[in-house]
Symmetry: C2
Subunit: 468 residues, 2 copies
């Protein structure tokens, strides 16, 4: 006689039956919001409020109709509003120097050396801890950066315009792999490369971009790349190729010397992650336009500083972060490294998932599983499951392998807590010591605590406004 | 009460029940080889012969281990052995001028004008029908050409080396879309473009290719493109991008003038089909190495001249073609055209399917269905079903969406007839009049008659050798 068990709730019995080689199917079930009365009341209150519904509809439509173009490049201090010489931006939510992780401290040391504000590592450390340098999340300046995400005054940034809404977003140039600032490296080769990007690459690329009347259409490049196996967070191979093919003829028309042009083209050509630093400001510009809509429970920012994970919600004000300790990333480590070497979840790059690509579009990118772990079914399932927590399907981003279904877009704080499903993020793993570089890649989620806080705050605002 | 019918064999009853809105499932069944005794005997004889098994094992291993590199370019008469000034090559099996389809006659007129052997269309027609021009299948010279596939003495060709086996294959440069020679156009713009390819593009590309010690690795580019949504017959978007990214830095190192380099780069950049004329000689070089193995029933050539479909089998000698009338291509026509405008199946490009990509790799390329018709499931099913008629899985060409399964490779004539499953070819559709161009794309199969003939001939040879 064949028996088949159905286990509902705690996995304890499931695991035990499996050990006994029994057929058993697990039905995941947990009490709503862990049975927490305040959370249940907030879910109920927010789910049935017409103002919230209308605000979310407005917010997600802004996201779906966003259309980013690369329109310019320049130094951070010249391009980003409100920049000053002693300002250094970093990834994730606010954090003080003493609490920063290794890669972020290393990147800041590198930035101070690059800016010639310090002549040695010791001087840089002393300056960084002196209080004379202002640290702020890149997100506070409409900027984003992968990994440590450090931006200083003289670093070149891409300028991306979200044309239908007129807002801009900024991101540095991707340095490639190995010893690079974003992983906290600050030796001579790193500073030399940053200077080269500023002196040689910046003028050529700026001139090339200026040849386009409208800028370079990043939404179109992302849409095509999603049809070519990229998810535009950890796989940008197709997008980089398409961007390269798009921009090379314009680069050739710039008035610079042939050998300089050659070096710039070779730099882009040899870095399959070049487009990451364009997909990030593209998605940032899209999400930023949907920020600040009263009552909306749309997640507009997810970001990590390597210590804390931070969340921002459209209706909760510009600088309100909901913060909890960052998670450990499960994934594939490069040979020679172990879990102990890994920094916690780090970087602004999860702005891609916030906008419905990256981990949310893994169904477009089965090949990414060879890099972040898991199999093709997992990749498909990640995309399907994200519809549980998002507001809409983005038909501009169609995934061929999923019958041209659009990407799940617009994370709703209420749905995340109600359904107990966390956003899927795929991400690189940094070594916890400054400057070692990437040691692997994997899949991670934000801590649920961020969403619980955001939910309660959203409900609190709703109640205050209703009574006020 | 719910009834569900099962219909086996003829679809007549199935269609009738469907009309009556009944639930009915069709089971396709036909007697083995249509009940033809000679075919059944041949299937039986060839299937159980150890020499055939060993020969096929040898042949398919040559295919799987083939490794094509782009090593050179030059004029056809300088690169292709045995070329002479009055030789014009064409797609498909042998055919005489008077039987050729419109696009092929048009392309030959264009070639004669390009070669300055005629000064007008009338002169060209007179010369073509005079018997002074020798026409031969490109395949007889290890060459291939898309659509009309016309090659004349002064046309530049790619030279592809199948390194492990030392054999070479040749193909012209893709001219782009619209009015182009391969669709039979021969006006001034066509001749001008051919001259430009010869005068400006050829020297630059030849010099760029020479910068590679080993040539440009086409197997690696195809393998990557298959992971990026191409099937490398009708979709070459990723492959062209990857080729472009690979070759541009080398082009920039050539000693030619900046504006000439710019024009060459722009020409490749604006033609998403550029790589087709590289995937074709790449797969041709792979298949040619496996041709001429006694007893092998491996299909080494499938090709169409727009009137006839031709097949060649490894064990059946260099010039033995098995020929039957070409099929009509079912597919999607561009706006303004109807079935009556369509030429029959045309071109050498189905060398890609012969080598296990193209239609056989449609599971890699769900996006191709938007071009050739059908849906994503169809694309997956095509790839799965081709395992019924092929000898092996080519693990060098892994398809992410199918869990990194390799492509079905090495068509066995015996399996095709025995299982009554024809190879799937996806293909462009040419207007039947010379010079109009592409009017659509679709899916087609070869006529079964070619396979029946090849099967009987293979069995005849086996019997003769057994008795001789």
């Amino acid at each position: 006689m064949s028996q088949h068990f159905l286990n509902i709730g705690t996995r304890l019995f499931y695991d035990d039956l499996k050990l006994q080689n029994q057929k058993v199917t697990q039905v995941n079930w947990a009490p709503l919001a862990g049975g927490d009365k305040a959370l249940i009341e907030a879910i109920d209150g927010l789910s049935h409020d017409e103002r919230v519904k209308a605000a979310n509809e407005k917010a997600v439509n802004i996201v779906l109709s966003g259309h980013p173009y690369l329109i310019d490049m320049g130094l951070a201090k010249d391009m980003i509003e409100g920049y000053h010489d002693n300002l250094i931006l970093h990834a994730g939510p606010p954090i003080t120097w003493d609490r920063m992780c290794g890669p972020m401290q290393g990147a800041i040391i590198g930035a101070l050396l690059f800016e010639k504000k310090a002549n040695s590592v010791e001087e840089a450390k002393a300056l960084a801890s002196s209080g004379k340098i202002e640290f702020a999340p890149a997100h506070h300046y409409n900027a984003v950066g992968p990994m440590a995400g450090v931006i200083s005054a003289s670093m070149p940034v891409h300028v991306v315009l979200n044309k239908p809404y007129g807002n801009k977003a900024y991101c540095t140039v991707n340095e490639g792999l190995g010893k690079v600032l974003r992983f906290g490296a600050y030796d001579e080769s790193v500073i030399h490369r940053l200077n080269w990007i500023k002196e040689e690459l910046l003028p050529v690329m700026k001139a090339a971009i200026f040849m386009y009347d409208e800028g370079i259409d990043l939404k179109s490049l992302i849409a095509q790349a999603l049809q070519m196996g990229d998810e535009c967070h950890n796989r940008n191979k197709a997008a980089t190729s398409l961007f390269f093919k798009e921009v090379v003829p314009s680069i050739l028309k710039t008035p610079f010397k042939h050998d300089q042009i050659e070096r710039v083209i070779r730099f882009i050509q040899t870095n399959d992650h070049y487009f990451l630093n364009l997909s990030m400001p593209a998605t940032k510009s899209i999400m930023e336009a949907a920020h600040g809509i009263p009552y909306s429970t749309l997640v507009t920012t997810m970001a990590r500083n390597g210590v804390d994970f931070g969340l921002r919600v459209s209706g909760s004000g510009v600088k309100s972060w909901f913060v909890a300790p960052a998670n450990f990333v499960e994934g594939l480590l490069f040979a020679g490294y172990s879990d102990e070497d890994a920094n916690l979840d780090l970087g602004d790059s999860t702005i891609t998932e916030t906008c419905g690509i990256g981990g949310f579009a893994m169904g477009a990118s089965p090949a990414i599983t060879q890099f972040v772990g898991g199999n093709v079914d997992d990749a498909m399932n990640y995309t399907h499951s994200m519809f549980n927590i998002t507001m809409r399907e983005n038909t501009s981003f169609a995934l061929p392998a999923l019958n041209f279904m659009g990407t799940p877009t617009g994370i709703d704080v209420v749905k995340v807590v109600k359904r107990n499903v966390l956003p899927i993020i795929n991400t690189g793993i940094a070594h916890k010591e400054a400057g070692v570089g990437q040691i692997g890649a994997g899949v991670v989620t934000p801590p649920m605590a961020c969403f619980n806080q955001a939910l309660l705050a959203s409900y609190q605002q709703l109640k205050e406004k209703s009574h006020g």
